[in-house]
């Protein structure tokens, strides 16, 4: 038999700095290294295999083989993943890595097996930041009174409510025009998206709020995985872990470069000093999702990040 074809999908572009695309390409490269000639990884960017919810279903049906998927849609089929979307839970990347690469991360990935999906590793989209046209965000009170476009996800809506902002869920295609014309004052997105979509043209302030760490799951369909030999499974696992580490390293380099570029484009960039003030404010969000995440898991994460 010839090499095994793995159809690998993600929702964003195939651009050189796109975190999802980097993860996919790095996986392809690493797998060739660990199991030369045994696999043919076919890449499907730009939602060609469906959006993230649909790709998750496709993985569980076994109709697609692999995907890189954002944490938030994963949490709709496996609620414990909501813990990663809790605002201000990770103060920096190292904390996130400690949780996600340790036993807690393994426990999270295991919860997907009920849905016939094998979770391999966590890559990253980087921290999400706030951009707006009203004022720089230093403290929770600065968020209040501003109209924010948010993702249609209860965690984000609750987070902006808790901070006193006006959360406006809006489809992505209209967001740029809406910011430009003042239908909304600002939004929250990762740095790379700000740059790639030219939001520096329509938004004045970039505040490095690091409010949500965007974890990306590298996933494989159980049906596909079970067809592999033990050696091939090992190669796939090792390749995914290697790809995630490479992607994190490259993404952090890119983000640092992009922040400088955004400054050069005229955005006023500020850092947030007092994260504890924010964490206090979003306490109600933690309480609200505590039970669906699982009390025990949530406490372990909190203990890990306050070490």
């Amino acid at each position: 038999a010839g090499p095994i074809t793995l159809r690998f999908g993600w929702c964003t572009s195939a651009g050189p700095t796109d975190p999802y695309a980097i993860a996919a390409r790095q996986f392809k490269k690493a797998l060739e290294e660990f199991a030369p000639g045994q696999f043919n990884v076919e890449l499907y960017p730009n939602r060609q295999l469906g959006d993230e919810k649909e790709m998750l279903e496709g993985l569980s049906f076994g109709t697609i083989d692999m995907a890189v998927i954002t944490n938030s849609p994963i949490s709709r089929i496996a609620p414990p993943f909501q813990v990663n979307d809790m605002p201000f839970i990770y103060a920096n990347e190292e904390q996130a890595y400690r949780v996600l690469d340790g036993p807690i991360g393994q426990q999270l990935l295991k919860t997907l097996e009920k849905k016939n999906i094998i979770g391999l590793a966590f890559a990253e989209g980087g921290f999400r930041q706030m951009i707006n046209n009203v004022r720089p965000i230093y403290l929770p009170k600065d968020v209040a009174g501003i109209k924010w476009r948010v993702m249609p996800n209860p965690v984000y809506i609750e987070m902006f409510r808790a901070l006193g902002g006006n959360a406006v869920p809006m489809p992505w295609g209209e967001v740029f025009t809406a910011v430009q014309q003042g239908t909304v004052d600002g939004l929250e997105i990762p740095i790379a998206v700000i740059y790639n979509n030219g939001f520096y043209e329509v938004c004045k302030y970039l505040s490095l709020t690091n409010h949500t760490y965007s974890a990306l799951g590298i996933l494989i369909a159980k049906r596909t995985y079970q067809k592999l030999t033990p050696e091939q499974r090992e190669a796939v696992r090792k390749a995914a872990i290697k790809a995630s580490r490479e992607e994190r390293r490259m993404n952090r380099q890119n983000v640092a470069k992009l922040i400088e570029k955004l400054k050069a484009k005229g955005m006023k960039v500020n850092e947030v000093k007092d994260f504890s003030a924010f964490r206090q404010k979003v306490k109600p969000v933690y309480d609200k999702f505590r039970s669906s995440i699982g009390e025990e898991l949530f406490e372990r994460v909190l203990a890990e990040v306050s070490r």
Partner: protein
């Protein structure tokens, strides 16, 4: 190509040619392809439900219903009155009224058949009374239909915006100049046809008459102001604008013009939802079909093929226009747009075409396809209203079709025609 790829292309076209409804030709060829590829058939239902799930698509029932309510409530006929007073003293004036009123109506409606139905049902009998041939009157009403989807709001632009992830507001603005240029050129054709037929001019309406008509139509004239002003002023998104339009048409039709009886409302709602279902069911089924095309990498192969024919951007663009026109002539435009989307986006990126220009190239080609035989909703509506055969209408349409081809060249080869206005309004 794999057997599945053959089923999705040739098998699909064969079903279409034999008279299987488009949506089922799409669905059946998808099911067979899934079976051949060993893909779990659960994907059919998953893709079909997913195909309906885009917020922007909600504007489709909105604008269809708004258009139906405006016609029933008398807003449309008031607009035609105003157009009539403005241009009837010019030679060929009545033809121009058809064009002008369809341009007005295009600012309310997002669909070609609705525009043809509204303008045609009122204007064809009037034009016949005054010496135009029925063939010309019907051809004109059929040809102006596509203006409904070139001039915003526009259902195909909404669908394209969803697929290509471009701002629908920007896409709407990109259609304004091509739409107006096309309309003006149609008026010129009307002038020459009237001259050849020896149709006399009519009495010029006095300023007072014009003002009176405009005053009576003030509520109807306000509708495009609210819809377009709201969209471009950043007050609401196109989807929301469509719902505002529904509410406005309902209130004015029921309580101001009183052309609409309360008992008529629910039947009109049902009729509009039926039209919506025709369009949306195709979108839903095409979502399964397109997933399979992508899975089999058919679009990427076709782009490769097209790019291998010629190096020249001009030649490829001409080929692209020709291909879109031919496909538009035999297929429903929404279905065609969705099926070809990844191919077109890919090709646009490789040729370096601005995505906001690519939108009108695609949408306007297919809009013209609405009037070209054998399959075009505007054509069907024109034929249904006039009782003329499709062949006969098609012959009368030739001069207008040539105008459309000219406009397509403008859209394809003169980027500012589509890009200047969005840039001006939105920066």
């Amino acid at each position: 190509m794999s057997p599945a790829a053959w089923v999705l292309t040739i098998g699909f076209l064969l079903l279409l040619a034999l008279g299987v409804p488009i949506v089922f030709a799409i669905g059946i060829s998808s099911v067979v392809a899934m079976w051949l590829l060993g893909i779990d058939v659960v994907m059919l239902a998953q893709r079909m439900v997913a195909g309906t799930q885009s917020f922007a698509l909600l504007a489709i029932p909105g604008f269809i219903l708004a258009g139906d309510l405006m016609t029933a409530g008398g807003l449309s006929s008031h607009l035609i009155n105003v157009a009539d007073r403005l241009v009837r003293h010019v030679r060929g004036g009545l033809g121009m009224v058809s064009v002008l009123s369809s341009m007005f109506f295009a600012c309310l409606s997002g669909s070609a058949p609705a525009t043809t139905a509204t303008v045609g049902s009122i204007m064809i009998p009037e034009m016949e009374k005054r010496g135009y041939s029925r063939r010309f009157a019907t051809s004109l009403a059929t040809s102006v239909g596509p203006l409904g989807q070139i001039i915003p709001p526009s259902i195909p632009f909404i669908v394209w915006g969803v697929i290509a992830e471009q701002s629908i507001t920007r896409l709407f603005l990109s259609g304004v100049i091509p739409g107006v240029v096309d309309g003006l050129a149609y008026m010129v054709v009307c002038y020459f046809v009237a001259k050849r037929l020896g149709i006399p001019k009519e009495r010029r309406a006095s300023i007072k008459e014009v003002i009176k008509a405009a005053y009576e139509a003030k509520w109807a004239l306000l509708a495009p102001v609210i819809i377009l002003g709201g969209i471009y002023g950043g007050v609401f998104t196109p989807t929301e604008a469509s719902m505002i339009a529904v509410a406005y048409a309902l209130i004015i039709g029921l309580f101001v013009y009183k052309g609409l009886k309360p008992s008529e409302v629910l039947p009109i709602v049902w009729r509009s939802m039926r039209t919506t279902a025709v369009v949306m069911f195709i979108i839903a089924a095409a979502s399964a079909f397109c997933w399979l095309l992508a899975y089999e990498r058919v679009p990427a192969r076709l782009v490769g093929l097209m790019l291998s024919i010629s190096e020249s951007k001009v030649v490829i663009l001409l080929l692209l226009n020709l291909m879109l026109l031919l496909i538009g002539a035999v297929m429903d435009n929404i279905a065609a747009m969705i099926i070809l989307s990844s191919l077109l986006i890919d090709l646009g990126a490789r040729l370096g075409i601005d995505p906001i220009q690519l939108g009108p190239i695609v949408v306007i080609n297919f809009a013209v396809g609405m009037e070209t035989p054998p399959l075009g909703y505007s054509l069907f509506v024109g034929s249904a209203i006039s009782g003329l055969s499709i062949e006969e209408i098609a012959r009368g349409m030739l001069p207008f079709f040539l105008v459309d081809v000219g406009m397509l060249m403008l859209v394809t080869f003169v980027p500012p025609a589509t890009l200047w206005l969005p840039k001006l309004v939105l920066g």
